[in-house]
């Protein structure tokens, strides 16, 4: 596959009091040009730090290994000066909180213009024109007035549009969006997602979307990576992975979405919670502690992946075995 960004055997651990805690282990991921890829997982599963590492903004006490390639360049070994050529120009990022992600003392137009001037050799005036253009594209009304506004004068949705404008203004090859709609009103969420899709199509920017919203992911993304406790457990095209999930964790996740077909029935949930970083065991499958099909092998050895109907599954059990155990458990419940 021709890819913009290729993550290989990526691991990240936090160093605290001279001890290392592995937060991300052996993650493999690939994003093709112009594609929207989703990264799903519970809070604390390592998806945000993985995404931040792709733009070099992981916390200072994080130690990384493996490889993240962007085109022909290895990103993990870039220094501050080298990063400044990539960030904001070829790779950009949208954050979760639009209320605090903008500098409160600078007019939003100026903040976007800063991006343009940093990476393009244009005059101030030409940069302003570009900013007004991109503001129009992200669907803001009265762009001249918006340009002159301070962040506190805009609503959350408007600010997230500003962030999107800022992220897209230099036509990056890759955009990382870390839960871009979580902090917004439900009515605004859909608009922002549509906008992301539109910008992705118009500018051919690949997007890595981190989200909890499986509905949005089904509509928007072509492929999905499911992470659990620092590892990818299942990955593949959205229509396979979310419609007929194989891995026990993905099954639990898919069953937890309310849908019209299951109206009136109680929502399912996965028993237990993610182990905190300090108590995670170094061996075995990360999901073993909460898995309905876990056997002793699962606690001892990390599973390798196998391909099954277009997706990769990291599990010791075959799809047939998983299906059988799931059915047994359901029978027990009833």
């Amino acid at each position: 596959m021709n890819s913009v960004c290729k993550v290989k055997n990526f691991s990240l651990s936090f160093v605290q009091d001279k001890k290392e805690y592995a937060a991300v282990r052996d993650v493999n991921m690939e994003i093709a040009p112009g594609e929207i890829v989703a990264l799903i997982g519970e809070s604390g599963c390592g998806k945000s730090v993985t995404a931040l590492s792709m733009i070099g903004l992981q916390p200072e006490n994080a130690r990384v290994s493996g490889s993240i390639r962007f085109g022909d360049e290895e990103l993990l070994t870039l220094n501050d000066r080298e990063w400044s050529f990539y960030r904001g120009d070829r790779i950009s990022m949208i954050f979760q909180e639009p209320m605090t992600a903008l500098n409160p003392l600078i007019k939003v137009g100026k903040q976007i213009q800063e991006n343009v001037l940093l990476h393009q050799k244009v005059t101030g005036e030409a940069a302003v024109k570009q900013v007004l253009e991109v503001l129009k594209q992200v669907g803001l009304p009265d762009v001249e007035r918006i340009y002159q506004s301070y962040p506190h004068q805009l609503s959350g949705g408007q600010r997230q549009r500003i962030m999107i404008a800022m992220a897209f203004v230099n036509n990056p090859d890759l955009l990382i969006a870390d839960e871009p709609t979580t902090a917004l009103d439900v009515t605004i969420q859909a608009q922002i997602m549509d906008l992301m899709k539109k910008m992705n199509r118009e500018r051919q920017t690949a997007v890595l979307l981190i989200s909890h919203d499986l509905g949005v992911i089904r509509d928007l993304c072509s492929r999905v990576y499911i992470m659990y406790a620092g590892r990818v457990v299942e990955s593949g095209p959205v229509e396979y992975v979310l419609k007929e999930p194989v891995h026990p964790y993905t099954r639990g996740l898919a069953a937890a979405i309310p849908s019209a077909g299951r109206r009136g029935r109680e929502l399912e949930s996965i028993p237990g919670t993610v182990e905190p970083l300090q108590r995670r065991s170094k061996k075995g499958c990360p999901f073993a502690g909460r898995c309905f099909g876990a056997q002793s092998l699962c606690h001892e050895e990390t599973p390798h992946s196998y391909s099954y109907r277009g997706r990769d599954v990291y599990c010791h059990l075959s799809p047939a075995e998983i299906e059988k155990r799931s059915a047994e458990r359901k029978a027990d419940h009833e």
């Binding site: 000066r81 400044s84 960030r87 506190h152």
Partner: protein
């Protein structure tokens, strides 16, 4: 605009209160000024005559308003001790104390802000121990001790700078700077230690904010993130401290002017207290209070320039 009107209104009310309190305090003070001037053994007739000429026999509110009327005309009464108009004494002291205060403020800002920013940016554990020891010392040593120490070092031993006296700016600008260097340094060491701490904490807090991460994600390098984004946000709380330090510096100048024999407001205050020169003291207290109030007003105005969120509230 509303913001400025409200602030200006507040300023007027504060000034009126300040004048009332200053006047009131000196009415409560025990001791009849006429006795102080003429001595306790004076003839009662003489005392009565003096009270009349000073207006002391009139009711309080009349005296307050005539004092206020005098204020607007620039007349603060006459000093007992110097037998000169108080306003004239204050004006002559003002040039000395004013240049001392300005120079001290400049030093405080020029030392405090860059050092605070630098410590927040590079301050690992390496420097913080050494720095906090230094700042503890400069905070805990009072300005006059620092002054004596500096005189000993720079005037007596090294003979670089004059130890006492004042040369006016008009006479000799370089000499003026030299004569003010040690006094302002002795106050500024303490106040800049305060400022450094505030700046450091403020910058450190701002560095954790989300917009800083956004700035990095744009491709800005560390130094530019600092100067374009972090510093301006960090200075907002620091402006308040600068306003408060102004009062501190004026207070510090009272003793420091005595140590360095500078003929400024501080000297006038200590003389007027020891000689019970009430009109002079009253004028000086009012003057200091007004300066502090005006400084805080200026702080509010600066706030609104720096922070757009305040202008619109």
């Amino acid at each position: 605009m509303m913001y400025y009107c409200r602030k200006a209104g507040g300023l007027l009310v504060t000034l009126a209160l300040v004048s009332l309190i200053t006047f009131g305090v000196f009415q409560i003070l025990p001791g009849n000024p006429a006795y102080i001037i003429l001595g306790v053994d004076a003839d009662p007739m003489q005392i009565e005559a003096l009270e009349q000429s000073m207006g002391l026999d009139k009711p309080l509110y009349q005296r307050y308003f005539s004092w206020i009327r005098g204020l607007f005309a620039g007349d603060l009464g006459t000093s007992f001790r110097y037998q000169q108009p108080v306003s004239q004494l204050i004006t002559s002291g003002l040039t000395v104390t004013g240049s001392l205060a300005v120079m001290t403020m400049l030093m405080t800002v020029l030392i405090g802000i860059p050092a605070g920013i630098w410590l927040a940016g590079h301050g690992g554990r390496k420097y913080s121990v050494g720095f906090s020891m230094l700042s503890q010392i400069s905070l805990s040593v009072p300005a006059f001790c620092m002054g004596i120490f500096l005189i000993n070092l720079f005037s007596v031993r090294l003979k670089w700078l004059p130890s006492i006296g004042y040369i006016s700016w008009a006479e000799d600008p370089a000499g003026c700077m030299r004569s003010l260097l040690l006094p302002s340094l002795s106050i500024a060491l303490g106040s800049s230690a305060v400022l450094i701490r505030y700046v450091k904490v403020s910058v450190t807090n701002q560095q954790k904010q989300d917009y800083v991460r956004t700035a990095y994600s744009k491709g800005l390098r560390k130094s530019k993130v600092m100067y374009r984004h972090v510093v301006r946000n960090s200075l907002i709380p620091v402006i308040t401290i600068l306003g408060m330090l102004t009062a501190d510096i004026l207070g510090g100048s009272i003793i420091t002017e005595n140590v360095f024999s500078l003929p400024g407001i501080g000297r006038l205050i200590s003389v007027s207290i020891s000689s019970r020169d009430l009109p002079l003291l009253q004028g000086l207290v009012l003057y200091l209070a007004v300066i502090v109030v005006l400084c805080n007003f200026a702080v509010d105005l600066v706030y609104s320039v720096v922070d757009p969120r305040i202008r619109l509230k």
